[in-house]
Amino acid sequence: MVESQQNLDDVVNVVSMQNIVKRFPGVLANDHVNFDLRQGEIHALLGENGAGKSTLMNILSGLYKPEGGVMEVNGKRVTFASPRDAIAAGIGMVYQHFMLVPSHTVTENILLGLNEPRFLMQLKQYDEKIAQLGNRYGLKVDPGAKIWQLSVGEQQRVEILKQLYRGANILILDEPTAVLAPKEIEELFVTLRAMTREGKSIIFISHKLHEVMDISDRVTVMRKGKVTSSGILTKSTDRAGLARLMVGRDVEFTLDKKPVEPGEVVLSVENLQADNDKGLKALRGVDITVRAGEIVGLAGVAGNGQSELADVITGLRCSTGGKIIVQGEDITNKSVRCGIEHGISLIPEDRTSVGTAPNLSMTDNVIMKKYNKSPIGGKWLINTIAADGYARKLKIDYDIMLPNVDTSVRLLSGGNLQKVILAREISSQPLLMIAVQPTRGLDVGAIEGVQRLLLNQRESGAAILLISEELEELLSLSDRIYVIYEGKIMGEVTDGDIDKIGLMMTGMKQSEIEKQGETQNV
């Protein structure tokens, strides 16, 4: 049911963006976009990856300059030459990837770029000021702590405080829940509602439908650079409707997953311990098994040891205790090459910095695992003809878009780059595949493609460990889901119970949850 819109005379637009145009080389990111924000509302900006929502908000926050269009803040025309101007106009942006200097303290980060204190930095008084500000909004942090010591949720609080300290009345949050556990998301939403009661106006960028339905008053949907629906009341629509506006067609919410009988145990991790880059304990005794023909999901908020786990299993990081057993053989702390020869394959989290060599050709990138063996690798030399042929075949099989196999891969889009990596890894017919955030940053079409490939691998009998921050993805692909928290497995879920998973992600052990459940049933 559609509620009647408020009388136009009553509405106060704190922000009005009209006909915004923004181009990047090769792509029109914002195509005559209209957007407005009312006083005291939470307005969601919804769209899949690549729709142009971040671009639009980067224009509003002064990072980018539009080629065309007009912006008004509080009724006055504005042009922002740099983020400084936007900050002066009361607009503060909390980025998805935090803009915090890791080695500096909370206070130093909050004071960065300001004019006060002028020259000498006596931080004690500012520490107190910031602590007070934090308490006022329910955003508790220790002002003297260094950023690298804080959890992701705490870092986000610092980012928000940073903007509030500057007197921001308009807050833009870019995918704020990507790095939070369900409980922290609840806390964030409480904070946001408190801020609107104090008169702040909030723009909430997201691609997660249920959150948008949960928190926002109005929603604007973008698709491929255009607005498909501007400022509609959230109450007047539903998930399916929003999804259609986001993608342009009816979206299936479930994938076609065939039942497969799992085979024998391929990977067995026992009491694994490891440190992270800072020398702190990242894995405190992890136990996991993965069998052939199944996808085992690993749920958990980023930073709880997932990256380290993937690194240790593949040999990129040393363990400090425990065992890794692949098909019965103990390969703990053996080299990466040893892992590769045992059929372990990794789809890395970081496509450009780890998974590929950007300036080398596609051919050079796909033979990374095969260059040592025939037919591509001989005794000393590489058979370049065989290598090119192999690359061309993969290009066709996986439908990778690029002019020819000699092109440098840095020119590829994210989706195509991921396809190159998948093509390389899958065609080496791995026994065990570890996929870390395989669909991050991809558009819906590419996501479906990747998930399809993973399911195919499962049907062919591969053992797959899927590490992902997208709970929906884990639920639709995995046969079983482990939950990791602070380097330990909290429990294993086979029935897709989201609530249980959510609780485990915040640190409750499965045994405790079940006990609670029992006492409640009595």
């Binding site: 740099s82 983020p83 400084r84 803009m99 890791p102 080695s103 500096h104 980060n109 960065l112 930095m121």
Partner: protein, 322 residues
């Protein structure tokens, strides 16, 4: 061999390294590595000497030397900051360029006579402190005293002032600084320039104070490179830089002076009796630099402090990550 005189001379020589190292610290703290210090130092030395020879005014020479090196540093700044070229290669080419230009323009300078140096002073009260007074405050060039003031100021500036914090932010996480309205590019250009100024000052210290004259490449004899190594040893901290520079300076002097006397600490001086062993002595400063680097790198790995996180990476707005 009067050890006090050796140490005093060591402080003077160390001042050259100190300026070079401080310049490197400023530049690298902003995220730009400048390997052209040797060339800039040479260029500064040549310009300072040349201007002093023409105008007979060493202060003008000093300023000219500083400014010349600062100016030529901007070539590297433009190429590595705006054109986003690899900083290592850019720095190396600056080195070749600055060295080459110095040699060309400095042709014939060493034949000019009567070039004044910068004044030497003895500080009245302080020079009477036993031992320390004779080393640090007796008959040192004005630039040495300037060095004493500069390094603590530099330390304070970097760690306890607002512009210093901005500098550190730009070198650690330029995107954060950018998003808060700090102009990353301008900051980096500025500190590369300051690095150049200091390298030029180091050069002027050589040609107008410590070893007056112009001796083509032998004027700097690798001190610019030692300064680059010292930046790592100093862990980008001006206080440690001073420590390292003065020790190194003393070492260099020791190498020269040790060949003189026929007895050292009542043992026959091997270097006096076999002058050829001097060649091994000459290797010492360079070998020591390597050792210093090993210590510095090992410590950095152990303590998990490293270079400024964004060192060596060009900043591109809108790129994910740094």
């Amino acid at each position: 061999m009067d050890i006090i005189l050796v140490l005093a001379a060591g402080i003077a020589t160390g001042t050259v390294l100190l300026f070079g190292t401080l310049g490197g610290i400023f530049s690298e703290r902003s995220g730009v590595q400048n390997l052209g210090v040797e060339g800039m130092m040479l260029f500064g030395a040549m310009t300072a000497y040349s201007v002093t020879a023409s105008t007979k005014n060493p202060w003008l020479g000093l300023l000219a030397g500083m400014f010349a090196a600062g100016l030529i540093s901007q070539v590297h700044a433009f190429i590595s900051i705006t054109l986003q070229a690899d900083q290592v290669v850019s720095g190396l080419s600056l080195n070749f360029l600055a060295t080459g230009v110095s040699l060309v323009l400095g042709e014939g300078l060493n034949s000019i006579k009567g070039v004044p140096t910068l004044p030497f002073y003895t500080i009245p009260l302080l020079s009477q402190i036993p031992i320390i007074g004779r080393i640090f405050f007796t008959n040192q060039s004005v630039l040495v005293y300037f060095g004493y003031i500069l390094f603590p100021l530099a330390w304070y500036f970097i760690n306890h002032t607002r512009p210093g914090m901005h500098l550190r932010a730009v070198g650690e996480f330029p995107a954060a600084a950018d998003s808060q309205g700090i102009n990353v590019f301008f900051t980096r250009y500025l500190y590369v320039f300051i690095g150049g100024l200091l390298a030029g000052m180091a050069g002027a210290t050589i040609s107008l104070a410590v070893s007056p004259g112009w001796f083509a490449e032998k004027t700097s004899a690798g001190q610019g490179w030692i300064a680059v190594g010292l930046v790592i040893f100093a862990q980008w901290n001006p206080l440690r830089a001073a420590f390292g520079s003065y020790i190194f300076g003393t070492l260099r002097r020791l190498v020269l002076d040790i060949q003189g006397p026929n007895m050292i600490f009542s043992f026959p001086n091997p270097f006096f009796y076999n002058p050829y062993l001097a060649f091994f002595l000459k290797m010492l400063p360079y070998a020591f630099t390597v050792i210093v680097l090993i210590i510095g790198s090992h410590e950095a790995t152990r303590k998990r402090i490293g270079s400024p996180a964004a060192l060596g990476l060009p900043y591109i707005r809108g790129q994910r990550g740094l």
